[in-house]
Symmetry: C2
Subunit: 429 residues, 2 copies
């Protein structure tokens, strides 16, 4: 039984109760939306300690942080601190993208470290181990991939990113139209390389039912990855991307037929004026399955500031229906993140998600802003600092330039508009 | 003669030629739009060294940085470094909001320091000097205000922010509806205080023709300030704000009747889903006069990250028609900016403006992104770093975590999707 099968059978699980309460959503509405696939609760049946978290229509927009060891560049210990940093900064999910060291050990350590939703990309360890053992990716054995999937499901992974839509057909569409950046998804690139070299179909597509069997057994949510996501504004909303989305829509239906929970992954690099279209076409082609976006980044030219370029896109996407935002770190196109970049990335994603939630009218969203503005009006600095999305940083900034008068800040000092008007209007209202 | 009167007389000024060339706009189209008031070139006839910069329909979205001394908190020397920092980071205009030290001296120093468009808020020095000399703002003499305006016009200020729309009528609308934050505009608060205490109309409204005389003589652009701009999401798009905008529309027409160039200032704090409406209502009520927005900030809860909250709002506003974005520093609601915050604020505003320009189809905008993505595809790091919106920062980030192989970055290392796919697709295309 999965959360979806329970919802369809009319049964309320403890996880649904927690999510409904957290989100101030009527439990029957939640259950109905879960039965239709519009809401998921990604929680592996072997992952007891995870906080149940809902993703989808009418719920708070969630955020994910990518972490993971890499060959020679980062230690497991560092990655665990990153995981903790992300959770402390308010992240809802963590994806382990490790490619260095003992990959199963690092995944286990991350699962043990935090209590948020955990996602992986099973093709990563498969590809890395293949290259280590056989010297080249083209020697990858699909059986090995499925054994990794099974192993990770047993370990308690809550969702798998699987690029099932990277098929010989979608690759042909890419070749026909041509692209500036071709494929920028790592998983997509691994599969494409293997498929073209071996002249074979994507095993995750060909053996999709086998994947569904595993997901059904452990209630692992499928995150149908966008291996053809645009990696440049020039490639956004092209035929390869939309072809993949059509395939993902069909695969969504097949998963739902087996009561497997699904979300869809989305772009990527997209011009601001194409974001709304991207959200709508996903929701239509994939029957309102939750949408998980990486960005979108609204410009290619700001390496070092991609937490901002993606916060712009993420906020717009969220307001237009995206349900789950993957953080993007400032130096996304430059290097693996350090600790501070993880923190920056999480806060930027949460700002985007919250701005979207206000626009979507998510219960409780704008009330936070009202409480902040009330404290601001009352020149109640302690409450303002406590309510800040990053209280530690807000406190640090204020402390670095302490005002001469306690009730204002150094921006305006004694010429504080709020203070002046309070006196003027207060006496005249 | 003003740029507007010249445009209306069918004459092309050297400034129009420069702007048309920079912006790749047909000179006759530019002149026509200037004649209609849809495009301005804010350039005081006494300000020879300023780079001519156009603002309005079809042009690149421009950015402004606020700097200025404050009572006891910052020195003129520091502010000059800030001005230089902002210009080096690519700002198009600087507003001097000084309230500390010798205010005319600091304005002159800033004018001398940089070659970008200079704006001021004449009510600031008037209020500060009044408080210094007479002990309270309520003793402000409108004659003093107009003498400051005249003095600054002679000094070469290119645009004045004047809160002419803060009238007894708009204040009454504010009182009738009630607001969470009342007035957060400093100029608006000075005027409101003076008006309520003295039971008199706003002198900038009452003696508007006198203001127009000065602007016409020196070709100073009026930036009709939004004294009633919302300072909280709760107050956005309310009756006070729209009432002021109606008044500004009428004042725009009166300025145009005298060939005085005008732009309109806008919010402020606005929920993401109300930004488009705000842009459209401004353009309608003010007959497509250029729109200069402060933000908008899409949430109140992120002090310390308001360069991000405003980059989200600014990008959306720009795409929906805003022409000029005022930067917002990270610690906007916490303190006066330090040097690094000025830099951060400028870059965030430029990212927002550029994302908007891509959406608006401004000539040359997306070509920058295409060049970056081409370099990315070719793993040409030197070109990528040079094309970055902040090359120094991009170079620093990459240098801090140098990859083992020159052609990739540490994010993916040897598993670089771009590299892998190039080999796979390159051989099979």
């Amino acid at each position: 039984m999965t959360q979806m099968s329970e919802a369809r059978a009319g049964r309320i699980t403890p996880e649904m109760e927690i999510v409904a309460r957290q989100e101030k959503m009527d439990i029957e509405l939640l259950r109905t939306r879960m039965a239709k696939g519009e809401i998921i609760i990604p929680k592996n049946r072997n992952h007891d300690k995870v906080r149940p978290t809902g993703v989808g229509t009418g719920l708070r927009t969630k955020t994910n942080a990518n972490i993971g060891t890499s060959e020679g560049r980062s230690s497991l210990e560092e990655e665990l601190i990153k995981a903790r940093t992300a959770v402390d900064a308010g992240i809802d999910a963590i994806m382990d993208l490790s490619t260095g060291g003992d990959l199963m050990e690092s995944l286990q350590a991350i699962i043990d470290e935090v209590d948020v939703v955990i996602g992986t990309v099973p093709i990563y360890p498969t590809a890395v181990m293949t290259i280590r053992e056989k010297g080249a990716l083209v020697h990858m054995d699909p059986e090995h991939l499925f054994s990794i999937i099974e192993q990770q499901a047993k370990m308690g992974v809550d969702f798998f990113t699987v690029h099932c839509g990277v098929t010989l057909n979608t690759i042909e569409r890419l070749k026909q139209q041509g692209r500036l950046m071709d494929i920028v998804s790592r998983g997509g690139s691994f599969l494409t390389t293997w498929m073209l070299a071996n002249k074979k179909e994507n095993p995750l597509f060909e053996q999709y039912d086998r994947l569904l069997d595993i997901c059904r057994e452990y209630d692992v949510t499928l995150s149908l990855g966008d291996g053809l996501r645009p990696g440049a504004l020039a490639d956004a909303t092209d035929r390869a991307q939309i072809q993949e989305l059509i395939t993902l829509g069909e695969l969504t239906q097949r998963a739902w037929d087996r009561d497997v929970q699904v979300m869809i992954e989305g772009p990527g690099h997209v011009p601001l004026n194409e974001i709304h279209t991207n959200m709508q076409i996903q929701k239509k082609l994939c029957m309102n399955a939750p949408f998980y976006v990486l960005g979108p980044l609204v410009t290619d030219v700001a390496p070092g500031y991609d937490h901002i370029t993606s916060a712009i896109g993420g906020a717009i996407a969220g307001a237009a229906g995206a349900d789950f935002l993957c953080y993007v770190i400032p130096g996304e196109h430059l290097r693996l993140p350090g600790l501070d970049e993880v923190h920056q990335g999480v806060i930027a994603a949460r700002i985007a998600a919250h701005a979207a939630d206000i626009a979507k009218g998510v219960p409780g969203a704008i009330e936070w802003d009202h409480a902040m503005s009330k404290a601001r009006k009352e020149l109640d600095w302690e409450t303002q600092l406590n309510l800040a999305i990053d209280p530690v940083n807000a406190r640090r900034i204020r402390k670095e330039a302490p005002p001469q008068e306690d009730d204002v800040c150094t921006m305006c000092g004694e010429y504080c508009a709020v203070k002046i008007v309070q006196e003027a209007l207060g006496n005249n209202k």
